[in-house]
């Protein structure tokens, strides 16, 4: 019987890794055979798609293991300073929580409402003024949120109306600069409070 040479094993592993990497990074498409290309389209036009498929293997693994990279914000926004000025969470920047599902992350347009006059000499203010002029917006990265496959439909408004304070779920952001993920939004976190407050724990309350 021939023994398996280590180099063959290594070769096999190498191929497997290369394949995995290639597939994982989307270089090779192993999904269902695509329909034949139809129609000429316009010259230079490329067809991009929105899909629930993850862009690569790493993203899929991250989603599955609920591994979220630490968010890196475009600017070190000081919540503490703004909250210190008595600006409520829902006053300018996250105002739609009182009427709708989404809190929203403010556009640089919102910042400039005050900062086209206030603290205009500070470096960060100069930065955002410059961005506003160039038409580049603040690409905030999500701190709180649920992975797509958990299909959570969280609606802020009923919680705000029920007088659940922002800090309950989002932690002491008023004492932070950029928001830090200090509260772990596990399903248990939500269900426990729902049970306590006698809100519905029917699956369809949040997952539909």
């Amino acid at each position: 019987m021939t023994t398996v040479r280590p180099s063959s094993v290594l070769a096999l592993v190498a191929c497997a890794c290369a394949w995995l990497g290639a597939v994982g990074c989307g270089y090779i498409d192993t999904s269902v055979p695509p329909p034949p290309l139809m129609g000429p389209g316009l010259p230079g036009e490329s067809s991009t798609v929105l899909t629930t498929a993850r862009p690569n293997l790493r993203a899929a693994l991250d989603d599955f293991l609920v591994r979220r990279p630490e968010p890196v914000q475009p600017i070190e926004f000081p919540h503490n300073i703004h909250v210190g000025k008595q600006i409520a969470c829902t006053e300018y920047c996250h105002e739609s929580v009182t009427t709708g599902p989404v809190a929203g992350l403010p556009s640089v347009r919102t910042c400039m409402i005050c900062h086209n006059a206030i603290a205009t000499d500070r470096p960060r203010i100069k930065l955002i003024t410059d961005m506003r002029m160039k038409g580049i917006d603040l690409a905030w990265q999500r701190v709180y949120g649920f992975p797509a496959p958990s299909h959570v439909k969280f609606n802020h408004a009923p919680h705000v109306r029920a007088e659940v304070s922002c800090e309950t779920c989002h932690g002491p952001i008023g004492q932070q600069t950029v928001a830090q993920r200090t509260v772990d939004h596990t399903m248990g976190f939500c269900v426990n409070c729902h049970k306590e407050k006698q809100a519905s724990i029917d699956c369809l309350t949040c997952h539909f």
Binding site: S7, L10, A11, V13, A14, C17, A18, L20, G21, A22, G24, C25, L37, M38, G39, P40, G41, L42, P43, E45, S47, T48, P55, N56, L57, R58, A59, P69, V72, S96, T99, G100, P101, V102, A103, G104, S107, V108, R109, T110, M131, R132, G135, I136, D137, L138, A139, Q141
Partner: protein
């Protein structure tokens, strides 16, 4: 290095590459500043107008925030916009009463279509190659203006032509005024399923060159000759709304519905009685019923005298249309004719309608006049439960448009023949606005060849299709959600309606509203047209301002923008004239056998290319939801097919799904067979709309186009295409090859299922 080291190296680097080089694209996305403050997650509702057919249903559009991919200064990124998410029928709108048909629901995909033309284009290859390069709007309009100036400079204004769909309302006014003030002939209006024949008949019978409106909700008896009024004909949503009420909207009263046609349409399936009739003989049946009504002492009301006088023998009681004569001509048993007449006499009020295949014959005008006379006799004209005509808002008068009233433009057939003949008046600059005759017109009219002879073609459409692919300059219009949308419905409402809607969202691409482009070009000409309106919005504001407001001291224009339109009782001065007066002294018409193309021995079957519920005439085939929507009668998706009667199929050895060759004297095609009992044995039917050679990724190269088989037969008086007058022969050429995709019956890889079988 040796082999071992090389393999080790690849393994290590491969693995590292797999895990490390996959950057998270989201971290690299640039976000641009939105043009306005966007409130996330909350919907607002805005008015809209559906553009996919002439009915002009009012919409409410659900608008929410969305992230749009953009490239700015070479940087790819996203920007928040307000985007239309869902279309609903507008609840108060007098045409659709909150309903919206399947095409209307799908029309939102026009705005977001991946193959939409996003900016002005100039042809860079040879004509027909569909190779274009982008140009700026300034350059594009300058091009157009240059061409028009050249015509005007040479005193050749008549060489400008516009070929497009029938446009009424404000957009129609601007188009007409532009051409008229430039000195060009009236537009060549063309639609495959155009209803000009019916308009002519109504002008003759009732003095109104207009499509009819039916008060089905109050009718007890509805008799339709071939009209697919619940699917595609006239104002389908309005008619469906009335139909539902006719059936179950009145306590204890259920209206009856009889459909007369040779192929069961989606509408016909709902009839209490389905009466097949020989092609082109619907008018005979109508007069047969009139004959019996008269025999039963039903007297022609004075109001119907005009319609009746157009029918030969009317005043004598229509002796030529006895039940036996009718049976001979139509194939409908005399006893059935008598029974129908009895039902009509008993169930009042009743109304008759005619449309679709029944009029698509060389004797179509006779049939239309016959049904009009029948309606007159039934006392249904301008009565509850009957037929009437929607008062039309006279946009031209409200806009104080100047110039003499325009005549009708040439027909497509005339225009093509004239262009091919050449000569001094031949078109040198052609504007294309919402018509695709290269796809659907009979090949014998040689529309494509005529277009190829025109030196310069401009298209305003949003998509490349068979016709616009011949354009030299493309000036893409906004989609209906991105611009001021308006419509003055010709039918479907008891009261006058002027629908209007401000843009529901900002334009996605670098498109421009065609009306504004025309007005702009008009101002830039060396001899400016001096049309008094700055833009479509300004024109709308001007015309709506003269409408009476809802309440004293109100403002009709602001109210209309809120509500999505104006409707109610029009002051007399704002009601448009009825249309061409009837030709007095017209010889009363009698039945003449319809002509068919193709020798009956060689081509034994009649071809019926019908308006598809999903694609209509093919103009909606590019919308993926409609391609995937199962056809109401066959459940077919992404396909075209040939409907064949089972007895005929058995004679020809055809089984369900088999590949057939259908041949006329003008062309041939191959398509899959669908056996259906709802079609006469001597008829085969195909839905219009598939078989595009150029119409976005979803419709190109899909299915077959029955227009390629059509004979150029027309109705003599109006020139209307007799699209149901082509004879064909059918032969089985192969086994099912998977081209027919059905939703019903499970997986169809073999392509067969039993006739009439329904698993799902």
């Amino acid at each position: 290095m040796d082999r071992r080291s090389f393999i080790k190296l690849t393994a290590v680097s491969g693995t590292t590459a797999a895990l490390a080089s996959c950057g998270n694209p989201e971290n690299q996305l640039v976000r641009f500043v939105p043009d306005e403050d966007i409130v996330p997650g909350q919907a607002t509702w805005k008015p809209g107008v559906c553009p996919l057919c002439a009915a002009g249903c009012g919409l409410t559009v659900r608008v929410m925030d969305a992230d749009k991919d953009v490239v700015r200064d070479g940087q790819a990124g996203v920007v928040k916009i307000y985007a239309a998410k869902k279309l609903e029928g507008s609840t108060d709108h007098p045409v659709n009463h909150g309903g919206l048909c399947t095409r209307g629901q799908a029309s939102i995909q026009v705005t977001y279509h991946p193959d939409r033309i996003t900016q002005p284009l100039k042809r860079s290859g040879t004509r027909g190659e569909a190779k274009y390069e982008p140009i700026s709007w300034d350059d594009a309009v300058a091009e157009l203006v240059g061409r028009l100036d050249a015509l005007a400079g040479a005193g050749n204004q008549r060489a400008l032509a516009l070929l497009g769909q029938a446009r009424t309302g404000h957009r129609g006014l601007v188009v007409q005024q532009f051409l008229q003030h430039f000195g060009a002939p009236a537009p060549v209006r063309w639609e495959f399923f155009g209803d000009d024949l019916l308009r002519r008949a109504n002008a003759l019978s009732f003095g109104k060159a207009q499509l009819p409106t039916f008060d089905l909700a109050n009718a007890r008896f509805v008799l339709s000759f071939g009209a697919d009024f619940l699917g595609t004909w006239n104002s389908p949503v309005s008619q469906s709304h009335g139909y539902g009420a006719m059936r179950q909207g009145r306590a204890g009263i259920r209206g009856a519905f009889v459909q007369v046609e040779a192929r069961m349409s989606q509408t016909g399936a709902n009839a209490d009685q389905w009466v097949p009739v020989r092609p082109g003989t619907d008018g005979v049946l109508a007069l047969g019923l009139a004959h019996l009504l008269m025999a039963a002492k039903v007297v022609t009301p004075a109001s119907a005298a005009r319609a009746g006088a157009l029918i030969d023998g009317w005043s004598d009681g229509l002796p030529a249309y006895s039940p036996d004569a009718v049976e001979k001509l139509t194939g409908v048993a005399a006893a059935k004719v008598e029974r129908l007449a009895r039902q009509m006499a008993d169930m009042r009020p009743g109304v008759a309608m005619i449309g679709g295949p029944a009029l698509a014959h060389t004797n179509g005008l006779f049939s239309a006049l016959a049904v009009n006379a029948l309606n007159g006799l039934m006392g249904s004209v301008d009565q509850p439960g009957g037929v009437s005509f929607t008062p039309q808002f006279d946009v031209a008068a409200a806009a104080r448009a100047t110039g003499t009233a325009p005549g009708a433009g040439a027909s497509l057939e005339q225009w093509a023949a004239g262009t091919l003949a050449g000569g001094s008046g031949a078109t040198q600059v052609l504007l294309i606005d919402g018509a695709n005759p290269v796809f659907a017109a009979p090949r014998a009219w040689r529309v494509r060849e005529a277009l190829e002879k025109v030196p310069y073609i401009v298209s305003f459409g949003s998509f490349l299709d068979e016709t616009s692919a011949l354009a030299d300059l493309i000036l893409p219009d906004h989609s209906f959600l991105e611009t001021w949308a308006e419509n003055v419905p010709e039918s479907g409402s008891g009261v006058a309606v002027a629908t209007v809607a401000p843009p529901a969202m900002a334009p996605l691409h670098q498109t421009r509203a065609t009306v504004d482009v025309l007005l702009d070009a008009g101002r830039r000409l060396q001899k400016p047209l001096n049309l008094p309106w700055e833009s479509l919005e300004a024109l709308l504001g001007a015309t709506f301002a003269v409408l009476p407001p809802a309440a004293e001291g109100g403002d009709a224009w602001s109210e209309a923008q809120e509500k999505g339109g104006w409707w109610g009782a029009l002051p007399a001065a704002l009601v448009a004239a009825a249309g061409a007066p009837a030709a007095s002294g017209m010889t009363p018409v009698a039945f003449v056998e319809p002509q068919f193309d193709g020798d009956a021995a060689q081509y034994p079957l009649h071809l019926l290319p019908y308006a598809s519920t999903t694609f209509y005439d093919g103009s909606a085939a590019h919308l993926p939801w409609l391609q995937e929507m199962p056809d109401p009668l066959t459940s077919a998706m992404w396909s075209s097919w040939v409907e064949v009667n089972p007895t005929t199929a058995a004679t020809l050895g055809i089984r369900d799904g088999d590949l057939l060759e259908v041949t006329s004297a003008h062309g041939t095609l191959q398509s899959a067979a669908v056996l259906t009992p709802g079609i006469a044995p001597d008829i085969v039917a195909m839905p219009m709309g598939q078989g595009h050679t150029q119409f976005t990724r979803y419709a190109t190269g899909r299915g077959e186009n029955p227009a390629s088989l059509l004979a150029p037969l027309t109705e003599a008086t109006t020139g209307a295409l007799a699209w149901a007058a082509t004879r064909v022969k059918v032969a089985r050429v192969g086994d099912p090859d998977g081209r027919l995709v059905l939703f019903a019956g499970g997986s169809h890889e073999e392509g067969r299922h039993g006739p009439g079988e329904e698993h799902r």
